[in-house]
Amino acid sequence: MAVCIAVIAKENYPLYIRSVPTQNELKFHYTVHTSLDVVEEKISAVGKSLGDQRELYLGLLYPTEDYKVYGYVTNSKVKFVIVVDSSNTSLRDNEIRSMFRKLHNSFTDVMCNPFHTPGNPIQSKAFDEVVSGMLAQST
C-alpha cells in the first residue's frame, strides 16, 4: 500500500524515489525529505548493537493526517523510506517490515551488480519491478 518509496544514500541524497502517480507528487518528495530528520534522530538514538535487524527497521517515523511514513536504515546508512496512505486499512507492522526486507534484498542485488556504482541513482529493472510491486499492491 505504499504510495511512495524512496532510497536515500548515506549523504542524504536520493538514490531512488518513486511514487504512485498522482498529482502533487512533490508532496511525497517533501515528506520523504522531512522524514530524514526523524531518521537521523532515530539513528543517533539507537546506540546499541547496530547489527540487530530490529534496529534496522525504524518503524513509524511520524504519522500525518493522510499518510504514515516508515523508515529503515541499513548498516551502511542507506535509508529506505516508505510512505503509505493511511486511509486504507493500516498495514500491519510486519507487513511493513517485509516490504523493507524485500527492498533491502533488491537493493543488495543492485549493489552486487558490478556495473552499478554506489552513489549513483539506481537504474535497475529488477529493482524497479520490486518497487512497482509494492506501489501497486496498494490502490
Binding site: 530490529r54 510486519n94 552486487c112 556495473f115 535497475s124 529493472k125
Partner: protein
Amino acid sequence: MESLTLSDVEQKYYSDLFVYCDTDNTKKVASYGRVLDLFRAAQLPSEVVIQITELCGATRLGHFGRSQFYIALKLIAIAQSGLPLRVESLNSVKDLPLPRFVVGKNEAEARHVALYQDPDSQGLYPASAAALIPRPPGRGHPNKKVPPSASAHPLHEAVQPTAPSVETQQAEPTSPVVSPHQSPPSSPPSWRKHKRQHSGGNADRQPVAAPTGVVWTQFREQQTAPVSGDGLWSSHSPPLPGQESWVSFTADTPPSSTVPGAHPSSVQESTTIRTTMAPAAAAATTTEVQRQSSGYDDPWKITDEQRQYYINQFKTIQPDLTGFIPGSAAKEFFTKSKLPILELSHIWELSDFDKDGALTLDEFCAAFHLVVARKNGYDLPEKLPESLMPKLIDLDDSAEVPEPTADVGFSASPAEVTPNKSPSMPSLNQAWPEMNQSNEQWETFSERSSSSQTLTQFDSNIAPADPDTAIVHPVPIRMTPSKIHMQEMELKRTSSDHNHPTSPILAKPPEVSEEVKLPVPATMKFVPANAVGDGYSSSDSFTSDQEPVARQRSQSGASPEALKVVAPPPPPPRPHPSHSRSSSLDMNRNFAAASAAGQPQPAAIAFPPAVPPRPLPTQSSVPHAGQRAEAEGATGAGAPLTTTSPQQIPQQPNFADFSHFQAFAASEQPSSLPEVDKHSDPGQGDKSSDGAGPLRTVKSDGQADERTTTAGHSTKGSSGPLAPPPKPIRRRLKSEDELRPEDEQHGPQKSNIIAAAMATQPSIPRSVGKDKKAIQASIRRNKETNTVLARLNSELQQQLKDLLEERISLEVQLEQLRPFSHL
C-alpha cells in the same frame, strides 16, 4: 594517389561495385553509406577499413569518388590477401584476387556473390545476382571449404529465380548494409574487442577472410536449406532466427553493425552476423564448418561454437572453468564491448542468476551471449531466456537462487524472532533452536510468498514467527499464569508432540514451579534462579501460546496480542479459547500427575497455584475468577487445585464464583498451591488473571494473606479482564517469598490486585536462601514485565491513534457523501 591500374576483371568488378554504391546515380561519387557497408562486408578489421579509406583519399576528399572507390577496393583486396596496405602495392601486387565482400544473406549477398563469383560472366550483380553465387572457393581460397563451391551452386540455382528481384535484393542487402552504418559504434567496438582478444589472431583474420567467404557461403547454403529452400535471397526474413544469436564477438567485421532491431531485418543481420561469425568462428573456434543454424526456433540458444568461444574467453579471465569470475573482472571485460553501462547493468542482472556478484561459466556464457545479441541489435529480454539459464548447475542454481534470496530475506526474520526470544528465554532457547530453524524455513516460505501473514500462522509451539508476537515476545513473562499456560501448552502438545512442549517445560520444571508457584508439593521447591530463567522461557512459550489464543479470543486484534505479551502467561488454552479454565483442567491433569508421580515436573506443569498472570483483556473474567480460586486454593496443597479447576472451567460463571473461591482458598490455602496453579491456568488467557496473580501471591505467602489477596482478587476478578495477568504470582512453587516479591513487582496493572498482593506479601514468610534468587528472578521478571507493559501501552496508544485517524477520515468521507445525498 597513385594511378591505379586494374585488370579488366578488376575494372569490371569495381565498376559494378561502384554502381552498386552509387545510389544517387551520380556516376561520380559512391554513396558513402553503401561504401561503408561494402567495406564492412569485406570483413576486414575496422582499422583496416579506416586505413583503406585514408589511403584511397576518401578521407581527404570527404567522399568516395570513383577513383577513390577503386583504390579502396583494390586495397581491400590487398588486405584480404593478407598483404600490408601500402599505396605502392596498389599497382605492384599482381594477381590480386578480387576483393571479397560478405553480405548478409539476402540479396545483398546474392549480389556480392554474384560480384564475386563471376568476374567472367558479367554477372552483374544487378542482373545476375541470382545467377551468381558467392563462390569464394573459386576465389582461390582453396583450403577452405571446397565443398562449398559445390554447395554454392545449388544456392546459385536458388538464387537465379530471384534474379528479377535483384533490385529488391539489392535494396535489402542495403538495409543490413546500411544499418551497420548507422550503428557503427557497436560494431567496431565489438570487433575491436575481439581484436584485442585475438590480437594474435588478427593476422589470421585477414587470411581467414578468404576462407570466411567460403565459410560464409557454406553458411548460407545451409541456411538456405533449412530455410525451406527458399530462394534465400528473397526471403531474408525468416529464417535464421537461430543464427541470429550466433554473433561472435570474434567477428572481424562489425557484423553486429547490422542492427535494425526488427527481427526480420535482424534476420538479415543475423545472416550477416552469421557470416561474420563464420569467419570468426573459423578463426576462433576453428570450426569452419558451417554452423547450421542451430536452434532455429530459439533465438537465444547458444551454439556449440559460440559456447566454445565463450568458454575460451572465460578461460582468459579465469582459468578454472568451475570457478567464478569476480564482478570487477567481468565488468572490465564487458565494458570492452562498448555497450552502454545501463545495458551492461541489465545484462548483468539477467545473467547473474544466483546474485552472488560473480559469474560462473554458464552465467558468463549467458552474459556474453546477451552482449553479442545486443550488439547485433537484439533487444535485451526482460527475463533471462530459458536457453541461457545456467545449465551447469541448473538445478542447484534454481534451488539455490530462491534459497539465498529467501534466506537473505529471511535471515532477518529468524533474527527478529530469535532476539525476541533470547532475552526472554535463555533457557527456552534449547527448545527454540529447533523451532527457530523451522521458523526460519517457515518464514522463508512465507517470505517467498510475500505474505507476512504466514508468519502469524506459523504457530509452532511458540508462534515465534508471529510478527505480532514479535513485539510481545521479548517478554519473559514469567508469571504464573504463563506457567499455567505452559503446562497447558504442554498438555496440548503432549497430545500432539510430547517432546516439544514438554521439553522446555520439563527442562524447567523448577522454573515453572517457581513461576507458577504451583503448590505441587514435591515440586514446589525448585526455583533456583535458573529455573526462573527457564521459567521465563517457558512462560514465553506460553505467552506465545497465549497470543494466538488470545487472538482468537480477543476482539481487538492488536490489543490482545499486545496484552498477550504483557500478560504472559495465562495459558490460554488454545484448544479451549473459551476456557481459561481448561488450563486448569490441564493443570488438574498435571497436577494430579504431579502429585501422583511426585515429580517436580508434572507438578510444575500442574501449575502451581496458577495465579493467572494478569488476565488478558480479552480473557474472560471467569477464568480470572477461576484463577483466583485457584490462587486461593493454591495456598493449600495441590489437591485443592483439582477441585478448583473444574470450577474454573466455565469461564464466565466462575467469575461469580470468586466468593466461593475465596472462601475456598481461604480454607484451602495450605493446599492451595496446586489450586492456585489451576487458577492461574484458567486465568492465563484471562484477564482476570490479575486476580490470579494476587491469588498466587496469597498462596505463596500465607494462607491468610492469600485469602486476603484472594478476596481482593475476587473483586479484582471482575476488573481482571482489563489488567494483564499479574505476572509473578506464579511462583508459589518456589517459595512464597519469591512469590511475594514477584507479586509485588509484577503488580499487574490492576493496582488493586497489586495492592492485595502487596498486602499478602508482607505476611508471607520468606525463606532466605532460595528466596533471594527467586526474588531476584522475580525482580527481573517484573522489570521485564514492566517493559513489556510499557511497550504494550505505547502500542495501544498508537493503535488508538490510528483508529482515531481512521475514524476521522471515515467521518470526512461521510461528510463528503452527505452533501450529495442532499443534492
